[in-house]
Amino acid sequence: MADPIEFDRMTCPTPLTEYEHVLLGHGSGGKLTADLIQRVFLPELGNDVLSRLEDQATVSIGPREQGNGRTGPRIAFTTDSFVVRPLFFPGGDIGRLAVHGTVNDLAVGGATPLFLSAAFILEEGLPMDDLRRIVASMRQACDEAGVQLVSGDTKVVDHGKGDQIFITTSGIGLVPEDVHLSITAARPGDQIILSGTLGDHGIAIMSVREGIEFETVLESDSASLNGLTRAMLAECPSIRCMRDPTRGGLSSALNELATASRIGVKLVEKAIPVRREVHAACEMLGLDPLYVANEGKLIAVVPSEDADRLLSAMRRHPLGRDAAVIGQVVSDHPGMVIMQSLIGGDRVVTMLAGEQLPRIC
């Protein structure tokens, strides 16, 4: 061996700090997405409703009644685009997803979803049969959720300028007078309930894309949650907040909650339900289920004294069978999510930086 190496003088380079183009990571639902919203969208478009950054906007329509300060009916309004590949996957397809996603964003705001619109961007050459299947499955999903698709638009782009089909759905729903859910409402002592197993959708999609096979077919959890949320609110009007952990997974949903409510979240790893297949796939691909997308799950924050009642009500519903208390709201470490690991040590669960990347080894 030659002379000893002088480590102390060694340094690391300073790489790029700003991206000149939009990266895929800007759509990951993690920090890069939050950056985009804070730096590009809110400065131009921010207002008192948008800047709340809830999953849905809640606005009042009609004149404010004199004297008692009450407003007219409250409308929840939301929009979402769907760009999934492959278009058809175990447990669903882009059409069902486009209905469920928007219905769920309304439902977790406590609203009763009523009407949807759908805009289609079709790539020249998309097989007509595929389009028919997608549209039929949208109708079925609307029927199941009890919503009507009442407005639509279609554009076609040149071959190679789109990825077969992109769908944007918007939806409106009515918020019952006594329901006031908000991401800012969590209080220390509240319990956090997850409605079922984590990561099914993301891993189902990824296993098709990567050709990973399991003994049983892993299906996406794509589902409309408005039946579940209705049952939950009927049983337990004291629910503070609900979120559906889609892109960015549970970690983004809880970090947003911790920041907006200025509280800490304490999770217990062994309480979090994860399917064996999902767990195994995550191990193989070097991913973490806390960051994987879900399309038919929600988290609810509820005062401690009502948690058991809510949990029982959720477990009676088919979409809440595996519901579990996964942690609680604490006054320590505001803005942070901390998880007690299986062997007892603690770790901070941060938001995803960009895309979740498979590790080398």
Partner: protein, 371 residues
């Protein structure tokens, strides 16, 4: 039995934790070489479970972190070519070169793809005969057999439109460099289990002998690490040196012979530059002359690309265990996983990213603030 949960069981973990505490009488500094082990340690909070006398330092065993800047720049240059499909393991895409990372190349129109196996690149090459498929062959000994296999198969099949950008590094020379450093504090090593699955641990025996240290080949689950630490502390306390194998369910002394033979067929040992450390003699692989036609550096004439490294971060000190990530003034402030100043913050296996993601620095801050 599913080979996961039984190695994450809190009951034996507690027993091992107590066993470590009861055998420890003096302060010891142990380095885990491999980034995967660093990841497990911080993910499960293992360092918190150890007695204060046992200090873990995180070694240079993250392939992403130690890949030198100019190689990233070469990758960026090659990936930017319209005639190239550039394939890589996922976490190399965010590693910054001197100006751009591969994500930025992709965003600007380059065909950059994430693959899970280098053999996938051969399928892509057969599908796109008019373009050259380049695989970024980075990693320690662990990833060298599949990378060697891809090159070997390409030659066998006569694939002309496939090449590899090789940046393979080796663990034993890095350990030697650390132990030879005048500032070395490391008294014992946890050997990198997956590296040894391929290479065995014969080559670590002379190292243990020469420097009089214990090396415990260790796995990646929480119980593996606790047991590896326990064995290492026992050897240190008893004043023994030598190689012990905690990861016997995967590692044999001679390693995986067919894999080693294949690696030897395709690669030869060469000097390599390590990001944050510098050139370490005989510390990496390059393609043998018989396989030179698959060398992307010569095919695309990027050998001469040279770049300057700046003086922002202290990852050189971190990679040899002289500093902890949160002791860097930039840590968590100007340097975060989204805006990394150094490679150790880029990869999820890097010590800084592991500290950041699993919150050591924030906890430290909280404690500090509450005082």
């Amino acid at each position: 039995m599913n080979y996961q949960e039984e190695y994450r069981d809190p009951v034996p973990a507690k027993k091992l934790q107590q066993a470590i505490a009861s055998v420890t009488t003096r302060p010891w500094t142990i380095m885990e070489v491999c980034g995967g082990q660093t990841h497990t340690i911080v993910k499960y909070g293992i360092d918190e479970l150890l007695p204060p006398k046992v200090e873990l330092v995180h070694g240079p065993g993250c392939p992403v972190c130690v890949t030198p800047l100019e190689l990233i720049d070469k990758a960026v240059a090659i990936a930017s070519r319209p005639d190239v499909i550039f394939c890589s393991f996922g976490d190399m895409l965010r590693v910054p070169g001197s100006r751009r990372d591969l994500f930025a190349v992709k965003a600007a129109g380059g065909d950059v793809r994430i693959v899970y196996s280098p053999l996938d690149c051969l399928k892509i090459a057969e599908k796109y005969p008019d373009r050259t498929v380049v695989f970024f062959a980075v990693g320690f000994e662990t990833t060298s057999p599949p990378n060697a296999m891809a090159v070997w198969q390409a030659k066998k099949r006569g694939l002309k439109n496939f090449a590899v950008l090789v940046s393979h590094v080796l663990v034993p020379p890095a350990m030697t460099a650390i132990l030879s450093s005048p500032n070395n504090r490391v008294q014992g090593f946890l050997g990198a289990g997956h590296v040894c699955t391929v290479m065995g641990f014969e080559e670590y025996e002379p190292l243990a002998e020469r420097f009089g240290i214990p090396i415990v080949v260790t796995g990646f689950e929480p119980l593996d690490l606790l047991e590896g630490i326990y064995r290492c502390v026992c050897m240190l306390e008893e004043g023994r040196h030598g190689v012990d194998n905690q990861y016997a369910r995967a590692v044999r002394r001679e390693g995986n012979r067919p894999a080693r033979n294949l690696v030897r067929e395709v690669f030869e040992v060469t000097d390599r530059k390590w990001r944050g450390i510098g050139t370490i003699p005989q510390s990496g692989f390059r393609l043998r002359p018989e396989y030179a036609e698959f060398d992307a550096e010569s095919r695309f004439s990027v050998q001469q690309l040279a770049v300057l490294e700046s003086n922002e971060c202290i990852s050189g000190l971190i990679l040899q265990g002289l500093r902890k990530p949160h002791q860097c003034p930039a840590f968590g402030k100007s340097c975060t996983p989204e805006r990394p100043l150094g490679a150790t913050m880029v990869s999820s296996e890097g010590a800084c990213a592991a500290y950041y993601n699993y919150g050591r620095f924030r906890q430290a801050e909280t404690v500090h603030a509450s005082r």
